[in-house]
Point group: C2
Chain length 423, copies 2
């Protein structure tokens, strides 16, 4: 999507791949120093060696330090950090660890609707029961505890609910949860004895004024020992999003909190089957959690690049919302965070009927027509789940600003045309 990689990250990765470059005076000293540190922690000083299955120890330590800093000093234990092959790998592993039972004892897992399809796919794969709770589109995709209670109580008749998953900032819905909302979810998880899975991969992607990322862990600990010593949770992060966008490296981590030591031993065994996460992804994660510091030569370039990427994303988030809301028949919540917008579209009855005749979801018909007519690929809301009778699409805000403007204009024209055609 044209987003430029952070120079410092790529320099260190090149040095790690080909350490002969450590003698090259083209590379800044701090990049060399980071590469030496990473290589020193690798078996045989090579990123080509297996690491421990849980990840390289000094990187896990740096992840802990990063979390502590992020959360205002709340302690993090490197033993609770598991490096992973992107966040998806860690999420699937954690679900696998938590799911069991058969028939009415099958594990139920609460996920938001709209959801990111990794969750529904993993639950289907594990034969777990998906418990859908709906986000409130009218309140900017807010999460309401009454809805959680409704969903849970409906599910208790046919499964054993054990897990609640939250994505904050939201994918595909782009909302950023308030602190109050996070407290409510934690209280709910405690009352209902649910394991809390907090997918926080977009933690640095927050754009809207008045919005702030609150980590579930920080809020949990600030709610006092009654919560911080009892609620079991895992938080997931990744090198794929935020200002990094390095999804091809498949780097990530999870932090587990209040996990029973015997369960943790099983988790460690589980991750060891696939030997280790890719070491290049681990190295990249090390750089994300331990970026250049103000007194280091790469700091100013790093900050400039980081700020530019995040500022461009914020601009595009605003532009997308504003443009869509000028179109009659499209309603778009603010893109408070993450990288997507999930606007609601009004479809004429004749379009809905046509879709049914063609055996398609109505928003799939809409997206296919857009693809055919304009070459623009959006994902229909039905792929993420939505309230019966409503229609949406997901669009990423990632394209370069000038391209995005053209795309938005084309979608606008298409929408008007489509509506006219089927009216």
């Amino acid at each position: 999507m044209g987003q430029k990689p952070i120079t410092f990250f790529r320099q260190v990765l090149a040095l790690c791949a080909y350490p002969d470059l450590l003698d090259d005076n083209k590379f800044p000293e701090d990049a060399k120093q980071r590469a030496r540190r990473i290589l020193g922690a690798c078996g045989g000083h090579s990123i080509g060696a297996y690491s421990a299955s849980q990840g390289i120890e000094c990187i896990r330590q740096d992840v802990s330090r990063y979390i502590e800093k992020r959360d205002g000093g709340i302690p993090s234990n490197p033993d609770n950090i598991y490096l992973s092959t992107g966040a998806s790998d860690a999420i699937v592993t954690m679900l696998k660890l938590l799911v069991c039972g058969e028939g009415p004892d099958r594990t139920g897992v609460m996920i938001s609707i709209p959801q990111y399809p990794l969750y529904s796919a993993a639950l289907a794969d594990l034969a777990a029961v998906q418990i859908s709770y709906y986000l409130d589109e009218d309140r900017c995709w807010g999460l309401d505890v009454a809805e959680l209670k409704r969903a849970l109580s409906a599910a208790r008749t046919h499964c054993n609910p054990r897990v609640i998953c939250i994505i904050n900032p939201g994918n595909p819905t782009g909302q950023v949860q308030s602190r109050k909302c996070i407290e409510d979810v934690i209280r709910f998880a405690k009352e209902e004895h649910l394991f809390l899975m907090a997918d926080e991969v977009y933690q640095d992607n927050v754009y809207a004024e008045g919005c702030k990322f609150h980590s579930f862990k920080k809020v949990l600990f600030e709610m006092g020992p009654e919560f911080s010593s009892t609620v079991e949770m895992a938080s997931f992060h990744s090198t794929s999003k935020c200002y990094m966008g390095e999804c091809g490296f498949r780097g990530g981590y999870m932090e587990v909190i209040n996990m029973d030591p015997e369960v943790k031993a099983q988790l460690t065994k589980l991750v060891s089957v696939r030997l280790c996460p890719p070491v290049t992804g681990q190295a990249l994660l090390e750089l994300v959690v331990n970026p250049p510091q103000p007194d280091e030569p790469s700091y100013s370039t790093f900050m400039k690049e980081r700020t530019e990427v995040l500022a461009a994303l914020a601009e595009k988030a605003g532009l997308t919302e504003k443009t869509f809301n000028t179109v009659p028949g499209i309603i778009c919540n603010p893109v408070q965070g993450a990288m997507y917008t999930f606007p609601r579209i009004t479809l004429p009855q004749r379009a809905i009927d046509t879709a049914k005749e063609e055996g398609l979801a109505p928003d799939m018909l809409y997206c296919m027509r857009l693809l055919e007519e304009e070459g623009i690929c959006l994902v229909p809301g039905s792929g993420f789940g939505q309230r019966e009778g409503t229609y949406h699409f997901r669009m990423t805000i990632l394209p370069p600003t000038e391209k995005l403007k053209v795309v938005l204009q084309k979608i606008r024209d298409f929408h008007v045309r489509f509506t006219k055609q089927f009216s």
Copy 2:
């Protein structure tokens, strides 16, 4: 273990990570050209982008060409190639695809004993039934069809056997299968309607005179259309072994043959849940299947490095076998291929009794004592499976020759001491 990475591979990976280096005249032209080709096939020309879930198309094409060349021109279709996060990921995915059923209908999967624990772990995880067939230690860990038939017929009473797994060259047993043996296995798989999983990650690690690697696919196709158009199989390869040894990059592929298109569609869906294999691992695989050619500047260095690694491994394979066979109470088959030796050890009855008292497997007691007394870590045979009443350990032949000599000497002395102590 001190094995040096192949310079050309690391140069290209550094260029891919930090393309500014493409302007650097320190890098040979062929390395730059390979990097440009890889980057050109990446989304946004960056190895930080997601690839297609099945892997980058031009790399899959090159894998096919590599297989065709290896197999004397037997065609390979890039659509049948799936890139993976090391071979373990592909093996686990394939088992997941093939395993189903409950109770007496549960899928049975035949695996060799001794086996590589990835298989038993994955089968336990999937609640499949492990069907153990024993390799014949007295015939250099040979595979006998009578034993396959015995195991299969015993298993039919309590499960639905659908898969046979073979590791060739063998892990942990280091044997290289004869062509005749491979034909027998293929005939057996056809007769019994078994899906054949050929773990061929050590295909370039063949040392013993008179031994040659025969790919299951090549033999299958040479057996004629009666076999080549009916037997379903998958073959696995990796960047982690052979002369590369780049296990930290988690690169690999599988080729599926005669797979029903509807099943293949499910496989493609299954791999898409985790988005894509690490792109650095894919890039490395590209270099393994498309190494420097005789008319390219990096060729001579590449060949020298490759030959040195393989020659050293061959030397160490011979040294290990010879040394162990001088020790009374240790019997060691030739290390024909792969990277391990799995010698049989005779343990005094008193050692066996002591182990039982301590709640340990007797070879675990042996390995723990060795670790405590000499700081040498071997894996007890009980971790891989062995015939009742026999004891073994697995040792890698990877340490540098001079170190390996010391290690072998220490194990020899320890064995004599241990035997005396418990006699």
